[in-house]
C-alpha cells in the first residue's frame, strides 16, 4: 500500500503540494487525475523517491521511500518524459536494468519480445516517442514490480498498443497483485482501467474514492411527470428537453427510484453515468477547473 500523508513541497515561493494525502490500496489500479499544474507529477516524484519532502511522509508498505533501495527495487517508474541515455539500445538498457534491479527477469524479457516487436539493437533515441514508451513498458514489466508508477503513460501510443499494454498490465495486476498508480490529466484514459481515483487540484487532493463508490452515489434520471418532484432529492443538475426532464441526483439507484416513485412519473429511466459526468457534477460546482480534467 502506498501512503502519502500531509505531503508539502515548495519550489521557491510556489507551493506545489499543500498538505496532500493519498492512499493507494494494495493491488489496486489508482488513477491520479488533475489538470495541468495540479501537482500530479510532483507527488509521483515523491513516491518514486526522487524528491525529498519538505514535510509529510511517503511510505510504501509502511517504509519510507526516499533513499530506500529495498522499497525502490520493488517499484518500476515510467515518467512522462523518458530519459534516453546516449546511443544505447533496448538490449543495453535491459543489461543496465538487470544490473540495477535485483528482480529483473531476463526470461520474461525474451518472452515479451514478440509482444512488443521492437528492435533490440536499434539506438533508443531513434525510436518514436510511442516506441520509446513501449520499450520502457517492456523493461518495467520485466522488473516484476510490486508497484508500477506511471506518469502520463500512454501519451504517444497508438490505440492498439495502448490496449495491448493495458492488457499486459492488468494481467500483471491480476496475477501478481501489482499495485498501479497512474496519473493523467485526461479522465477518459483511465475510466476503463482504474478501480480507485484521486482528483488533485492546486496541490491538494479534492476527492479520493473507489470508482464503484463514486458511480454508485450519483444517478442520472430521465423523467416525465406532471407532479412536483418529491422532497429529499439532492439535485446536482437539471435540464429540460420538451417534456423530458434530465436530472443528475446524488444517492444510490434504489433510493432515488423509491423517492421518484412518489411523483408517479410517466417515464423514469435511471441511466449509468460515465466517470467524466460524475466528476463534472461532483466537482463542477465547486469552482474547480473540471473542464481541464474531462476534456
Amino acid at each position: 500500500m502506498i501512503e502519502v500523508q500531509n505531503l508539502t513541497k515548495r519550489f521557491d515561493d510556489f507551493p506545489a503540494l499543500d498538505g496532500l494525502s493519498l492512499t493507494v490500496p494494495q493491488g489496486s489500479v489508482y488513477g491520479l487525475i488533475g489538470p495541468n499544474g495540479a501537482g500530479k507529477t510532483t507527488v509521483i516524484r515523491h513516491i518514486t523517491g526522487i524528491y525529498r519532502p519538505d514535510s509529510g511522509n511517503v511510505r510504501i508498505d509502511g517504509l519510507p521511500v526516499y533513499e530506500n533501495t529495498a522499497v525502490k527495487s520493488r517499484m518500476a517508474f515510467i515518467p512522462d518524459e523518458i530519459y534516453v541515455p546516449g546511443s544505447v539500445t533496448v538490449r543495453d538498457m535491459m543489461q543496465f536494468w538487470r544490473g540495477v534491479y535485483p528482480r529483473f527477469d531476463a526470461s520474461r524479457f525474451s518472452a515479451l519480445r514478440d509482444v512488443f516487436q521492437l528492435s533490440e539493437t536499434k539506438p533508443f533515441r531513434r525510436f518514436s516517442k510511442g516506441m520509446q514508451k513501449q520499450a520502457m513498458f517492456w523493461l518495467a514489466i520485466c522488473i516484476k514490480p510490486d508497484y508500477l508508477i506511471l506518469d502520463e503513460p500512454i501519451d504517444g501510443l497508438d490505440p492498439v498498443m495502448r490496449r495491448q499494454i493495458w492488457s499486459i498490465l492488468l494481467d500483471d495486476v491480476a496475477e501478481c497483485g501489482t499495485t498501479v498508480l497512474v496519473s493523467s490529466h485526461n479522465l477518459r484514459e483511465l475510466e476503463d482501467v482504474c478501480d480507485h481515483v484521486g482528483v488533485m487540484h492546486h496541490g491538494r487532493m479534492l476527492l479520493e474514492r473507489s470508482l464503484a463508490e463514486l458511480q454508485d452515489n450519483v444517478v442520472k434520471v430521465q423523467l416525465v411527470t406532471e407532479n412536483p418532484l418529491p422532497e429529499g432529492l439532492t439535485i446536482l443538475h437539471s435540464s429540460m428537453t420538451g417534456r423530458i426532464q434530465t436530472l443528475i441526483l446524488r444517492g444510490r439507484q434504489h433510493e432515488v427510484a423509491d423517492l421518484l416513485a412518489q411523483c408517479h412519473p410517466m417515464l423514469c429511466d435511471l441511466l449509468p453515468l460515465t466517470l467524466e459526468e460524475v466528476f463534472i457534477y461532483e466537482l463542477g460546482g465547486a469552482n474547480y477547473d473540471v473542464k481541464n480534467i474531462v476534456l
Binding site: Y51, T69, K72, F77, P79, Y83, P85, G99, V100
Partner: protein, 604 residues
C-alpha cells in the same frame, strides 16, 4: 527486504566506462603518440639518454598541468552531466541504488579512466626507452606520478563543480573561473588598492598563484629543471639530466583533490534533484554565489570599465574608480540574481542586497583611501630594522643590506616620502612630457622580530628633478647607488666558488668606434676570476654598477656598450642572473676585457 549497503554498482560502472570510451581512448592514443612513439621516432642529440629524460619530464609538465586540466574537466563532465538535466537526474534518482553508491561508482570510474591510461603509457614508455638502450624508469615514474596527481586534483575539482553547479554550460565556465579566480582577483584588487594606498606594492602573485592551479602550471610553477655537474677538466657545467620540481605542490594538489572528492560526495548526498538545471544546485550556496559574484564583478568589471574609459591616474580619480566599482557590482549583483532566479525580472526587489555590497566596497576602499589602519604611514625605527632591500623591480636575487648607514638612509627616504606625499603625487600627476616618466622603486624592510614589509613608491623623473640631489629621484638615486646596495643586487648572498658559475658571456664593441661587435663565452674558472677579481672590486670602488635616472631612461654611465653576464647556480640548483654594463672607470674589469680583445675605450 533488507538492502545491502554497497559503494559499488557494476552496471553503473560499466555504463560510465562505455560512455566515456571515446574520450579515454583518445587520451590514451594522444599520450602513446606523445611519449613512446615520440621517443622511438625522435632519437637524436649528443646524449640521447638526457634527451629522452627531457622528453619524458617535459611531457610530465604538460601532462599534470594543461592536459589534466582539460581531461579532468572532460571526464567529469561526461560522467556526471546527467546531473544537469532533470530527465536524466530523475532517472538516476529513481533507481534502487543509494546515492553514495552512484557517486562512488561513477567517481571511481572517472578516476580509473584517468589513471589506467597513464599507467599503460608509463609502461609503454619504459619499454620504448629500454628498447633504445636508454632505460628511464625513474623519469617514467615521475611522469606517472605527476600526471596522476594533476589528474586527481583537476578531476576531483571538476566533479565538485558538477555537484555545485546545476547548469550544463555554466559548469565548465565555473571550473575555468575558479581555477584562475584567486590570481586574477589578487592582481586586480592590488592594482586598485595600489592607486589609493600610498606605498602599497602590487601583488607579487606567488601565493595567489598557488591557489590558481591552472595559472601556476602555465607560469611554470611545476616543471623540469636541468641537473648540472661541474666538469673539472673543461671547467664548464654539463647537463647530466633533468629533475622534476614542484612535487610538494603536486602532492598538496593531490590531497586537496581527495578533499574535494569527499566534499562532492556529501554535496551529492544532500543534493535536491529539483534544482538540476539551476546555475547553483546547492541551495545553501546560493547567497554565497550571489555576493561573491557581485564582489568579483565589482572588481573585474569595474576595472574593465576603467580601462574602457581610458582612466590613467587612478589615484587622482577616486570618485571615478568608486563609481566604476559600484557599476561593476550592480551588473554582477543583478546578473547573479537573473541566473539564480532564471528570469530577467529581478529589479523589482532585492535592492538591499546590492546596497549592502555597495556599503562593503565603500568601507573597504574608503578606509584604504583614508589610511584608517595606518598602513601608509608606517615607518619603522632604525633600531627595529635588521636589514633592507632596495629595488627598482621585484627581484628575489637582490640581497639584504645590513649596513646601518644604508638603513638610516632608507628610513630617511621613506620619511621624506611620507612628509611630502602631496608634492610627490602632484609631480606624478603632472608628468605630461614624453621625455619624463615615473620611476617606481621598492623599499623592503626586514625587522628584527622577523617580520617583513615592503613599500612601493614612484618618483617623477623630469628635466628638473634628475639633476636635483634634493628631489625624490635624487635622494633615491643616492640610496640606490650606495656601494652596499649596488653589491646587494650584483652578487648572491651565498659564498662563491668557480663551480657556481654555470655560464658567463661577454659581448659588445671590441673597439672605441663601435664598428665591430663580438661575443665570448668564459668557462667557470675564467668567469669566477673576472667576477671576484675585477667586477666586485670595481663595484666597491663605485666605478661599476652605478645607475643614473635620466629623462632619456635609466642607463649606465658607460658608452659605448659592453656587457658581461653571469648565470650562477648554487648547490641546491637555485639560479641567479647578473649583468653588468662596463663603465669607462671600471679599470680592473676593462683590463681583463682587454685580454679578451674588448677595447671599447681604447682611445679615451
Amino acid at each position: 527486504m533488507t538492502s545491502r549497503t554497497s559503494c559499488f554498482n557494476r552496471a553503473i560502472f560499466r555504463r560510465a566506462l562505455r560512455r566515456t570510451a571515446p574520450l579515454w581512448i583518445l587520451y590514451l592514443v594522444f599520450w602513446i603518440a606523445a611519449l613512446p612513439v615520440q621517443l622511438l621516432v625522435a632519437r637524436s642529440g649528443s646524449s640521447p639518454a638526457v634527451s629522452a629524460q627531457y622528453t619524458i619530464l617535459t611531457a610530465a609538465y604538460a601532462g599534470c598541468g594543461v592536459v589534466s586540466f582539460v581531461y579532468g574537466l572532460a571526464t567529469a563532465w561526461l560522467i556526471f552531466n546527467w546531473l544537469f538535466r532533470s530527465r536524466s537526474a530523475y532517472f538516476y534518482a529513481s533507481l534502487p541504488v543509494r546515492r553514495q553508491t552512484v557517486f562512488t561508482t561513477q567517481y571511481c570510474a572517472g578516476l580509473l579512466i584517468g589513471l589506467l591510461p597513464n599507467l599503460i603509457v608509463c609502461l609503454l614508455t619504459m619499454a620504448a626507452a629500454a628498447s633504445l638502450g636508454l632505460p628511464q624508469p625513474w623519469a617514467c615514474l615521475q611522469w606517472l606520478g605527476a600526471n596522476c596527481l594533476g589528474y586527481l586534483f583537476f578531476y576531483s575539482f571538476a566533479v565538485l563543480m558538477c555537484m555545485v553547479v546545476g547548469q550544463v554550460a555554466a559548469m565548465p565556465i565555473f571550473y575555468l573561473v575558479f581555477n584562475c579566480a584567486v590570481y586574477v582577483l589578487d592582481k586586480i584588487v592590488h592594482a586598485l588598492l595600489e592607486a589609493f594606498v600610498y606605498g602599497m606594492p602590487e601583488s607579487g602573485g606567488s601565493v595567489a598563484m598557488r591557489f590558481s592551479p591552472l595559472i601556476c602550471f602555465l607560469e611554470g610553477g611545476v616543471q623540469p629543471r636541468s641537473i648540472y655537474v661541474y666538469n673539472g677538466e673543461t671547467a664548464v657545467y654539463d647537463t647530466v639530466g633533468y629533475g622534476f620540481q614542484g612535487w610538494q605542490y603536486l602532492l598538496i594538489l593531490g590531497a586537496v583533490g581527495v578533499l574535494f572528492a569527499v566534499l562532492a560526495f556529501f554535496l551529492y548526498r544532500s543534493r535536491e534533484m529539483e534544482l538540476c538545471g539551476d546555475v547553483i544546485a546547492v541551495r545553501a550556496l546560493r547567497p554565497c554565489f550571489l555576493y561573491l559574484f557581485t564582489i568579483g564583478c565589482s572588481f573585474v568589471l569595474g576595472y574593465f570599465i576603467l580601462f574602457l574609459l581610458g582612466a590613467q591616474s587612478l589615484s587622482s580619480n577616486f570618485p571615478l574608480v568608486l563609481t566604476c566599482l559600484l557599476a561593476g557590482a550592480f551588473l554582477g549583483y543583478f546578473a547573479a540574481r537573473m541566473m539564480l532566479q532564471k528570469t530577467l525580472r529581478v529589479f523589482s526587489d532585492g535592492w538591499w542586497g546590492y546596497f549592502v555590497c555597495c556599503a562593503v566596497i565603500l568601507i573597504v576602499f574608503g578606509s584604504a583611501r583614508l589610511d584608517i589602519f595606518g598602513y601608509s604611514g608606517r615607518l619603522p625605527d632604525t633600531d627595529e630594522i635588521a636589514s633592507v632591500r632596495v629595488m627598482t623591480y621585484r627581484d628575489d636575487t637582490v640581497g639584504s643590506v645590513t649596513d646601518p648607514a644604508v638603513i638610516a638612509q632608507t628610513t630617511a627616504l621613506q620619511k621624506y616620502l611620507l612628509d611630502n606625499q602631496p608634492e610627490v603625487e602632484r609631480q606624478l600627476r603632472h608628468l605630461r612630457s614624453s621625455d619624463s616618466y615615473g620611476q617606481s622603486f621598492y623599499l623592503e624592510y626586514t625587522l628584527k622580530n622577523g617580520k617583513q614589509f615592503t613599500r612601493k613608491y614612484t618618483a617623477a623623473v623630469t628635466a628638473e628633478t634628475q639633476s636635483d640631489p634634493e628631489s625624490l629621484i635624487g635622494r633615491f638615486s643616492a640610496l640606490y647607488n650606495a656601494v652596499p646596495v649596488v653589491l646587494s643586487r650584483s652578487s648572491p648572498a651565498w659564498e662563491l666558488s668557480a663551480r657556481n658559475f654555470s655560464y658567463c658571456s661577454v659581448s659588445g664593441s671590441t673597439d672605441a668606434d663601435g664598428s665591430t661587435y663580438d661575443s665570448v663565452d668564459l668557462n667557470s674558472r675564467e668567469a669566477y676570476a673576472l667576477f671576484t677579481d675585477c667586477i666586485l672590486p670595481d663595484i666597491e670602488d663605485g666605478t661599476l654598477g652605478q645607475t643614473e635616472f635620466r629623462t632619456t631612461g635609466s642607463q649606465s654611465k658607460s658608452d659605448p656598450y659592453v656587457s658581461v653576464s653571469f648565470d650562477l647556480t648554487d648547490a641546491f640548483g637555485v639560479t641567479a642572473y647578473y649583468s653588468f654594463t662596463v663603465s669607462q672607470e671600471a679599470s680592473r674589469t676593462l683590463a681583463y676585457l682587454d685580454k679578451l680583445g674588448f677595447r671599447p675605450f681604447a682611445d679615451s
